[in-house]
Amino acid sequence: MAGQYGNEPMMEMFLFETSQLIEQLEQLIISCEKSDHYTEDTINEIFRIMHTIKGSSAMMMQDSITAISHSMEDLFYFLRENKQKVVDNSAISDLVLEGVDLIKEELEKLKNGEKADGNTSELQDRIKNFLSDLKVDTSSEAAAERKNLENEKQQYYLSMDKKKNDASKYKNAFKATIRYEEDCEMENIRAYTIVHNVYDITDEFFHIPENLIDDDESAKKIRQEGFQIYLKTDSSYEEVREFFMQTLFLKELKLDQIENSEYDQLRDAKKKITDKEKFISSKDFEEHSEGNKETQAMSLKQNVISVNMTKLDKLMDLVGEMVISEDMVIQNPDLKGLELENFQKAARQLQKISSEIQDIVMSIRMVPLSATFLKMHRIVRDMSKKLGKKVDLKIIGEETEVDKNVIEHISDPIIHLVRNAIDHGIEFPEERLEKNKPETGTVTLEAKNAGNDVLVIVKDDGRGLNKEKILKKARENGLLYKAEEEMSEREIYNMIFLPGFSTKDNVTEFSGRGVGMDVVVKNIETIGGSVSIDSTPDKGSVITLKIPLTLAIIDGMNIRVGSSYYTIPTISIRESFKPQENDIFSDPNGNEMIMVRGQCYPILRLHELLKVKTDITRFNDGIITIAEQDERTVCIFSDELIGQQQVVVKALPEYIRRLNKTKALAGCTLLGDGSISLILDITGLANLKGLA
């Protein structure tokens, strides 16, 4: 994922930070919407987020993001300054979330190395209109206040005028015209900086344009005509020139000495004296600095660094390689039969350390599911609003951690399941009331650890699955694989995971889109997980995703068939034994079966299945391994067990994957002696045999 935008650390940092801020923003909005109230703290926080994004995107010259974050910043600036105002919170949430989506899209484009060229003008206009509507509402209240303020100002000017007229103690008069570099921005404030500093040399001066702060046009005027300042001082021409030359972003300075009388004339003509800015309602300032102090909302002190994902992947690979080479050394054929006490000691030490490293590397890659889970609030919100259903999302165990790669694979499936639950599971409020259920439906999203797996459970209290409908659909699409009456409830429900199955009569905006549950299953299976479903009519459905904690290294039992090696994940092995020829019998279809403690299991001859040449075909000579996964059991017949070993799971190369139609293989790995072993997929094998 990361790293594909090449060696542009700035871009990477920009994308990383902005995405984080956007996610934070989304959560803020949704939690505010829930309480139907924007607190002062959140408004400040949102303002700050938008402000940061605006600044950063401007630096990166991403105009579309700058534009949209700017208009949102304006909106929240207004809200911040007009705290008591009653506003339509839900309309604000809608607008901001739209903006969030837009920025997300743009970020996505950038991540994919495309240009962020989205059209923002339409949304910008809407935010602007919304804002001006708000302003109209407040303007009447504000008008009165403004009048008061103006009166105050007037008084200041008068007193200032008086003082000015009395002062004529300086000998020299100057006229300076200053031009700033192009795109230095805020020319008016830059000019104000001069005004502020000019007190060092005089207190008698005036300037054009005179209103530098409150008049938005002043920056434009300075850009076009330059900033003119007239002053009287005792300093010499050189000194005055020196003073102005210190100006930052100065492009051109024109300094002329003028007659004192000329100065007076000009000043009188101007009448209004200049440095009143100093006095403009100090009240205004206080408000602002206060506003800033309030910007204290949650900022977590972090003692973390962000690391490029590709580096972590690389580290993981290297640790994998290290585990393999460690095996190569310790189980080196040259050592066979040798008594090496010291070597064994050192080897054990090495093993201990390398397994610690492995644990640490794994834990580095572990990420809590919370971010993925919290995203669902947004989906629930959008969908319930659109569909007119009332839905509560309950989240349990979001602190559960899984490998970063796993997160990427399960995010979409979870979204799909949550959408399904709301779209098809939860009923409309009236229907729920009729059924004596609470009006508001509940979707529960839960994660928990279970051994080496993480379970993600999506539960709803809706109408449940309809068996008849599923069977009917399966019949229509020819998906029935055995007689209807023989199927257990669970088997019927499980049919919704079959490719090409969909009970939707009409595709809705949310869960339609032509992808069905089979895509969910496929996604989960690529990472070695599994999906199961349970449902009770009118009580709701539960879908459980079982996901391996981590993908990369597993404990495996290596077995041999002919000259090929295979690995069975140790966790699914129940037992291995040497069968007696007379334990074996055949069922009426000619399948070989074995009876173990009163239970019959069909036998899977690996050499037949995978078409491997071997001399060992008689049960007496080989070994049987019983493996179990997801309540499915297989009896695997192979030549011999080689031994247990930690193996690094590598994805099957593309050409094998194409051949792997049987789904008997989960991946491959390197053994200690450098040979390749294929990892068996127990669920795949069980399905193959059609075993329950």
Binding site: M60, M61, Y77, S289, T295
Partner: protein, 120 residues
């Protein structure tokens, strides 16, 4: 080598500014992500020059500027700001900010301001 403290709550901005300055042989002796930390690091590290964001959590850049100037009246503080913050910038200037840069700014602009202020 002139020693710089970069105060900004956005790590992207800290990174951008640092990268620009490093190219021109300035030494980034510290970074801070809010005003409180900025003031603390100023006292601790005594940098030659500070870039200060205005909008930050915990303590705004303006408050930090005030405290830094109180501690060291000669402090060279450059405000990093964005369009729409005119009034805040003015306040910063009144409180002794030596200059300000408006995002988005260019590398030359940043360097020019630094060189001019430090008399290089």
């Amino acid at each position: 080598m002139k020693r710089v403290l970069v105060v900004d709550d956005a790590s992207f901005m800290r990174m951008s500014i640092s990268m620009m300055l490093k190219k021109h042989n300035f030494e980034i002796i510290g970074e801070a992500e809010n005003g409180v930390e900025g003031v603390r690091k100023y006292k601790e590290l005594k940098p030659d020059i500070v870039t200060m964001d205005i909008t930050m959590p915990e303590m705004s850049g303006i408050e930090a500027l005030k405290q830094i100037r109180e501690y060291d009246p000669k402090a060279n503080v450059i405000m990093i700001t964005a369009m729409g913050q005119e009034i805040l910038v003015r306040e910063a200037v009144m409180n002794g900010a030596k200059s300000f840069l408006v995002k988005p700014f260019k590398e030359e602009q940043l360097i020019n301001v630094f060189n001019k202020l430090l008399g290089v």
